[in-house]
Symmetry: C3
Subunit: 295 residues, 3 copies
């Protein structure tokens, strides 16, 4: 029930580490500093602050391929299990783009098995990120449509470069597809029902200033100040005792996380059926052609 | 469940027409242009744009009588079933009033059978409008209390003439009556819980500028620009592929629509019991007397 | 179900008094004027207006001890049962502090039986206040952290002295403890999900101007105008017929009230288990030491 939050570790924290004592900073004998980099994502943990920097480096647009999503989930899991890590700043190493969202090539001309595996990876990434027991700050240093926006929405705090050429939003409707219910739930939790209803139906990609006005991002700063600001925000969040903050986060997000967990198979099946339709395949092919011509 | 949204037509779309292809404009061989006018509502469909104009013309105040509601539902059904129609702009042909809300004479001194039939018609109207698969834009060109406000709230977008003499709100409490739970749900989805709680308890009729500030209406324009603006907004919404937009709309509104469907009989019974009380009948008679004296 | 609101008295109104007639002011042959004062709270009822003034007078900080909470619940019950009383203004007789929240000494070094009794009193107070059929206005004339903030959030309207030195918020996380789910529900109903998520995790104590901006309080006025303003707001709310207003209030708050009622025992058990932990006891002792040194 709703009440078992008082004394349990966050349901979404796979780690078994004991939480830091409420009024004490985390103990000093920490795991050694770690920096790991895979193909798509670079991660550096600053042991002294307990903050990891996670940089998307999958040019040209950090699209969320199966490989990217898998690396993302594994990176989050590693950090979650590392007692030295209390927070993650997520940003992009690719200029002008945070992430372009789900990789359309993974949804086009592939097998049912592939679609299934891909969608599981999307779900897994979101469950880990939205349910993370770490403090998560998105430093949105470029455009962030669709799945890219979902990543930002799933963090605890969103700072965006104030450049109005950068857009953010769940703009799936523009491609003729529908954001899944848990994208919508995450969105509603951030901007409320009315803004979500309008933005999702119009498939809006909001310029940074508009996104800030709608509450989709919490703060705008000049791009050159983005990382400095992200570090300051992270320090503010880490000033709180981890355990109480984690339980509070779980209390706020549990309903929405539980909904996907309860309907995971159904959600996969719906995605696979949808994406397997010839009409959708045709739309996606047209869209990819258009993208190629743009270059 | 919540998930079956991906591939189904909207639950509230009674039409069996195949949805327009996601990235293509609707096919050209459309049904012939239709203009129909009943006693209370005039409807004109512009075949080239796919947009119907629906004008309330039931002077003096477009009150929602049984006859009006029935015509309204039938008009919506006709348009919903017409493949040539993709959107509806709702406005008033009566100066200074959009709609005064439920017709009190239908609730006063009538039989239980009449109250039952009347309330069914109110429910039916809302289920059709709030659940419409068409784009619905309210061009609120006058005051819009109670049921009139519900009509505006049930559209996808609300533009109001900026005249501060025009008021809008669910002001039922001022008459000593309570807005039904589905009026409240619709209101909360637009303005949020806190604003709804305060506004409903005070029975507020918000002047246009205040309504805009609260998010009750999306935009204010000078009255002479209202139709032009409504057409522009409609064009913006129709630029999106119908199918994805419709599924998204259903996803956002299904919970609230389902709640009335699940409790329809109970809601009718509650209304009939309430309105049959002598204390309520007395209040309504006093209110009608007051209205007569005002003239 | 959700529908039984039309014709029932509010579920949370323990009084059996017949509601005032919708369009008539309450009858004149009222109970005699009452002024009662216990150890901690002073109550004065103005028979002519139907408004009670409730003043917290438990220096130094109006902390919510078991005795305070019991007096508060009894006072609310007395007023609720008094037909002459239609509204309550809640304020503090102690300078600079509205209420400091739950009394930590009640949670430290006591028996399981004591913790149980204490938590029941906290629940009882909130159920009476949030579910009160009277109009409740908080005149917040000082700081109002944690449980003090809950009291303000549970009223129908919050006016705060505009002094930026006064802070308000559910800042439990700062002490390493987690606000219970029904504190959270009450908060979300006022400020929405996003603001609540951030504020609760950071344990923010918002200065009055920020609290106003977030919607946590409805209005700021200079401290010397606070009571005048509270009386004016009360008069505005009392201008509405009681019965419709009460049913509307119940409709808005029932879901959240019902959730605690359904989980009361579980909530007590969770609190007692939590507070009995040595780590929490240690935190609370450290906190109390810190408070002593400050003096």
């Amino acid at each position: 029930g709703v009440l078992s939050l008082w004394c349990r570790p966050p349901a979404w924290d796979r780690a078994t580490r004991p939480p830091h004592s409420p009024l004490q900073p985390p103990g000093l004998p920490l795991a050694p500093c770690r920096s790991f980099s895979n193909n798509k994502i670079q991660v550096e943990l600053d042991e002294s602050s307990g903050v990891a920097m996670m940089k998307f480096k999958s040019p040209p647009v950090n699209s969320l391929s199966l490989e990217f999503l898998t690396e993302f989930s594994i990176s989050l899991e590693k950090l979650e299990n590392n007692r030295a890590c209390r927070g993650v700043i997520i940003t992009s190493a690719v200029p002008k783009i945070f992430s372009s969202g789900l990789d359309i090539t993974e949804m086009s001309g592939k097998s049912v098995e592939h679609y299934t595996e891909f969608w599981k990876a999307v779900q897994e990434m979101w469950l880990r990120l939205y349910g993370s027991s770490m403090v998560t700050v998105a430093a949105v240093n470029g455009s962030s449509p669709a799945g890219g926006c979902l990543i930002a929405l799933s963090c605890d705090y969103r700072i965006m470069a104030e450049d109005p050429k950068f857009g953010i939003g769940l703009n799936e409707a523009q491609l003729g597809i529908v954001a899944p219910f848990w994208f919508k739930d995450t969105f509603v939790n951030v901007v409320g029902h009315r803004t979500a209803e309008r933005s999702l139906q119009l498939g809006s990609l909001h310029p940074a200033p508009e996104a800030h006005k709608l509450g989709l991002v919490d703060e705008l700063v000049p791009e050159e100040k983005l990382m400095e600001k992200a570090a300051a925000v992270m320090a503010q969040w880490l000033a709180l005792p981890d355990h109480a903050r984690q339980l509070t986060k779980t209390m706020m997000r549990k309903t929405v996380l539980d909904r996907l967990v309860a309907h995971r198979e159904e959600d996969i099946k719906n995605f696979v059926t949808f994406v397997s339709k010839e009409s959708i395949q045709k739309s996606l092919r047209m869209y990819m052609e258009m993208l190629k011509k743009r270059k």
